[in-house]
């Protein structure tokens, strides 16, 4: 069923007119500073293209941290979780897109999880609370903002579209804000409110 959906989406994308210019989305926080690592997704009303499919990704655990912090993977990607630390890790996700628990109790032990649904998956370690990482699985135009808070979509169709921005600390229900852009609009910006990132030791024992 997932494959069918992807195929359907790909078909839409193929039929969309080609974009003339890249679409630029700028994300800033309340004080106007650029926000990096914000995930910007584009949902054009027409001209949908087939999402990327599959692929292999790695989110390692090293020095009691996930690496990388944010991964954007296509639906259907396989993500392996190698434990490079000497400690045990208990990687879990309660996210609706993908729920899993990996008990990686030995160094260099690795498991792979198949991400077959679009959505944000928040990773945590039940042993180390400070460990946090996000994997966003999406099949459409999805990008992340760079250090200037800008995400660029070179091949975005020139049509009305829904633009959503997600950030792990974004203060909004489900951590997402959305905009609609008109056809031919090639730039937009988001001003978002961010929560402070959770402290390294959130429990003050």
């Amino acid at each position: 069923m997932v494959r069918g959906l992807i195929a359907f989406a790909a078909g839409i994308a193929l039929s969309a007119p080609l974009a003339a210019a890249p679409l630029t989305v700028r994300v800033m926080d309340a004080s106007g500073k650029p926000v990096r690592d914000a995930v910007v997704s584009l949902y054009p009303s027409s001209g949908a293209r087939a999402p990327r499919g599959g692929g292999h990704y790695v989110v390692s655990q090293q020095n009691i941290q996930f690496h990388p912090f944010l991964s954007i993977v296509p639906v259907g990607a396989d993500v392996s979780f190698p434990n490079l630390d000497n400690t045990k890790h208990h990687v879990y996700s309660f996210s609706a897109a993908k729920r899993f628990e990996l008990k990686l109790f030995a160094k260099d032990q690795s498991r792979t999880v198949h991400f077959d649904k679009p959505g944000v998956v928040a990773l945590g370690c039940n042993i180390h609370d400070q460990m946090s990482a996000f994997i966003v699985a999406d099949s459409a135009w999805t990008g992340r903002t760079n250090g200037q808070g800008i995400a660029t979509f070179g091949d975005a169709p020139n049509a009305t579209a829904r633009v959503s921005v997600w950030h792990p600390y974004l203060r909004a229900p489900s951590g997402t804000v959305e905009q609609r852009i008109a056809a031919g609009q090639r730039a937009t910006s988001f001003s978002i409110r961010l929560r402070p990132p959770p402290p390294a030791m959130s429990m003050d024992y």
Partner: protein
């Protein structure tokens, strides 16, 4: 200021008021200070209670937060929340709520969903918490289901924030009472929370609170200072503290109240004590002031009282205590009293005593007599009034001078006092003295006292080298028989005195009623006598003196007769003493001299005229002038004029008398000594003055033939006279045998009824004309 009748009352009130004002000021200040201190103390206690509550609040919040975090971190719980496992969530929340004793616990997910265990709290209320939770608020007060609650939340990280677990601790009565119990003072605690414009409260023992108290608490919340408010109708000192709220729009206040009466109970006790002390102090001060004022005013009051009594005539002395001004005043007062009394005594003495002799005077005598009358009125007692004067006192005064007279009076007074000890002795004036004698059963006592007085007065007395023997006469009247009042008794004693004098000086006489009649008669006679000379009622009779050697009438003695228009002929014995006493003897005597001279001038040359001269005339009659004028007027030769005097003139001072006699003698007038042999018959007179004649008193002649001594005395007198070359005349010759005897004794001349009674001037002329009629008789 109102006036006081008593100085001590005024002092007491003034000082007490002053002291009361000072004490009240001090007390008020202290009281205010106590109240202030108590208030500050209460405020401090409230503040510390507030601080304790803060601490408790934080502890509770901490406890709940720990529990919330513990729960939020639980993997299973997180999994349940993340997966929306409501059953698991609810059981976990119920378990935790029970363990933590919180009323309500619930989950708010990051996308605003709620899972709760307490159905009383609406989902909407809980969902409204998402915003503050999302803002990071984890503790604070919020109103849920109309009740303020202490909310504590913990984020649920899985690993991103998926929601919050929230514990809502009840801020109910139990909680508040627990807080109240923790406080050191019995305060009332309440939490007030405002949500959506409505206040809700959780109170311990303080309810019910009013709307005003909410507003009031909110007003004072910011200042942090204590304020007053009414809690359950009771005035209280309150403190409002802001409590952190969970939501932005809410407000929460911790209200701590301390009933004023309880808070200030100790202070009230202190104030009461202070008030009592003040009152006690006031009473003590008033008492002390009253006592002190009394110490000052008591002597003044005593002086005041003493002055009043002094004014009433009492002799008073005030007690002197101490040596202060009051004591000196009292001393001066006492001295003043002494002087006043002394002066009064002096005035009384002057008023009632004779200055010269110191004896009571007439005024005092009358008072004393009146007292005696009153005293004897009921008792029937008697008293005798002895009235006396000095014989010949006037003569002594005139001849020896007033100082001598005064000395005699003083001496007389002394003698009287001595002679009549215990009796009232007074001087009524001049030489008039009185003695008052109370008489008991013994009537002879009156006589004894009279004799004692006479004897005492009759002692010789020397004045300026002149020795004289005073003598006195006494008249006695006995009251109340002889007079019922002072005037009468004195007059009657006076009459008795006259009688005594008549009876011969140096005696005493009792008053008799006849004296009174005589006195009245005498007064009548006296007034008639004053007119007699003008009316020509006097007439001279002449009694011849027969010369035994020459057998002829050698002289006439002029004898005055008073032809009274009603009484007829009045004897000289009756009126001469009156004339002497009244001084009428002077004009009468002068008339006698003129008349006698005038008559004698027509008589033969060898016949003399003899005129009796009273000592009164001698003393003040200008006798020499009268005689000179009469001789000149009549042409009578002085040697034919003979003055007959009695020895009594010598009583009034022999020197003066002798001068007068010599003065008469120098006129050429003859001087005869009448009534010789009676009275003093001092031979010294004969030696001191060359009398021309001695007239032998008729008493000797009368007894000449009957008594043995009489003849010898007559002979002795005639022989003495011969020796001194003085003529002698025998008076009162009535019998021939007497004549014979007298002739034998060598008497010069005789006078008496044997030859002739006194005769009128007509008869004298007829006798001269007839011639020798009497010679026949001789």
């Amino acid at each position: 200021m109102r006036s006081f009748r008593s100085l001590s009352a005024r002092l007491t009130v003034q000082f007490a008021l002053l002291f009361a004002a000072a004490m009240l000021m001090v007390s008020a200040t202290l009281s205010t200070f106590i109240a202030g201190t108590a208030s500050r103390e209460v405020e401090g206690q409230l503040q510390s209670s507030g601080a304790v509550y803060d601490r408790l609040w934080q502890q509770r919040a901490h406890e709940l937060q720990n529990a919330a975090q513990l729960l939020a971190r639980d993997f299973g719980f997180r999994a349940a929340v993340a997966t929306g496992d409501h059953a698991t969530i609810q059981s976990a929340l119920t378990n935790a709520a029970a363990r933590l004793r919180v009323g309500s616990a619930f989950i708010v997910t990051a996308d605003g969903q709620v899972t709760a265990i307490d159905p009383s709290v609406s989902a909407k209320e809980m969902q409204q918490l998402w915003e503050p939770l999302d803002e990071g608020r984890l503790t604070g007060v919020s109103v849920l289901a109309g009740r303020p609650r202490q909310l504590v939340a913990a984020p649920i990280m899985a690993p991103t924030l998926i929601g919050w677990v929230v514990f809502a601790g009840d801020l109910d009565e139990r909680e508040m009472r627990g807080l109240e119990r923790l406080s050191a003072i019995p305060l009332h605690a309440a939490v007030l929370a405002q949500s959506g414009g409505r206040w809700s409260e959780a109170a311990g023992s303080m309810s019910p609170l009013s709307d005003q108290s909410d507003a009031l608490a909110e007003r004072h919340m910011r200042s942090g200072a204590a304020f007053e408010m009414k809690v359950a109708g009771e005035k209280s000192i309150a403190l409002a503290k802001s409590l952190p709220t969970f939501s932005q729009g809410e407000r929460a206040i911790l209200l701590l109240a301390y009933p004023r009466s309880e808070a200030l109970a100790d202070a009230r006790k202190l104030q009461l004590g202070l008030a009592l002390m003040t009152l006690l102090g006031l009473v003590l001060m008033s008492y002390a002031t009253w006592r002190a004022a009394g110490r000052i005013t008591q002597p003044l009051a005593r002086l005041d009282d003493a002055a009043g009594r002094l004014a009433a005539g009492e002799q008073v002395q005030v007690r002197v205590r101490g040596r202060d001004e009051l004591a000196r005043l009292a001393n001066s007062f006492n001295e003043m009293v002494g002087k006043i009394v002394e002066r009064e005594k002096r005035i009384t003495q002057l008023a009632f005593n004779d200055v010269l002799t110191g004896l009571p005077n007439r005024t005092m005598f009358h008072q004393h007599v009146e007292q005696l009358f009153q005293a004897c009125d009921g008792s029937g007692g008697l008293f005798a009034l002895h009235c006396l004067d000095l014989d010949q006192f006037k003569a002594i005064n005139d001849t020896l001078g007033h100082p001598a007279g005064d000395a005699l009076l003083v001496e007389t007074a002394r003698r009287l006092r001595q002679a009549a000890p215990g009796h009232f002795v007074g001087r009524l004036g001049g030489d008039e003295f009185v003695v008052l004698q109370s008489v008991g059963e013994d009537r002879d006592a009156v006589d004894r006292l009279a004799r004692d007085i006479l004897g005492a007065i009759a002692q010789p007395f020397s004045i300026d080298g002149n020795e004289l023997v005073p003598s006195t006469s006494l008249g006695i009247a006995i009251a109340p028989d002889d007079g019922a009042d002072g005037e009468t008794i004195l007059r009657n004693a006076d009459l008795a005195l006259y009688r005594a004098k008549e009876a011969g000086r140096g005696t005493y006489a009792f008053f008799e009623e006849s004296l009174n009649e005589r006195a009245q008669e005498r007064r009548k006679l006296e007034s008639d006598l004053r007119l007699a000379l003008e009316r020509g009622e006097f007439e001279l009779y002449y009694q011849p003196l027969f010369d035994l050697d020459q057998n002829r009438i050698c002289s006439f003695e002029a004898l005055i007769r008073w032809n009274h228009p009603e009484r007829g002929l009045v004897s000289p014995l009756d009126f001469v003493p009156i004339a002497e006493d009244t001084g009428l003897i002077v004009p009468i005597g002068a008339w006698v001299i003129r008349e006698a001279c005038a008559q004698a001038a027509s008589w033969p040359e060898d016949v003399r005229i003899a005129v009796n001269v009273s000592p009164v005339q001698f003393r003040r009659g200008a006798l020499n002038e009268t005689i000179v004028q009469s001789l000149a007027a009549s042409g009578l030769k002085p040697h034919r004029f003979e003055v007959e005097i009695t020895e009594s003139i010598f009583l009034e001072g022999s020197d003066t008398t002798l001068k007068l006699l010599h003065g008469l003698r120098s006129l050429g007038v003859r001087i005869a000594l009448d009534d010789f042999g009676t009275g003093y018959s001092s031979l010294s007179y004969l030696q001191s003055f060359p009398f021309d004649k001695l007239k032998i008193d008729r008493s000797f002649i009368h007894n000449l033939l009957t008594r043995d001594g009489a003849s010898a005395i007559v002979r002795a007198i005639t022989e003495l006279a011969h020796a001194l070359n003085i003529e002698t005349t025998a008076e009162g010759v009535e019998e021939t045998a007497q004549l014979m005897e007298l002739r034998a004794h060598g008497c010069s001349s005789v006078q008496g009824f044997l030859f002739s009674e006194p005769m009128t001037v007509t008869d004298v002329h007829r006798l001269f004309n007839d011639g020798g009629a009497i010679q026949k008789v001789a």
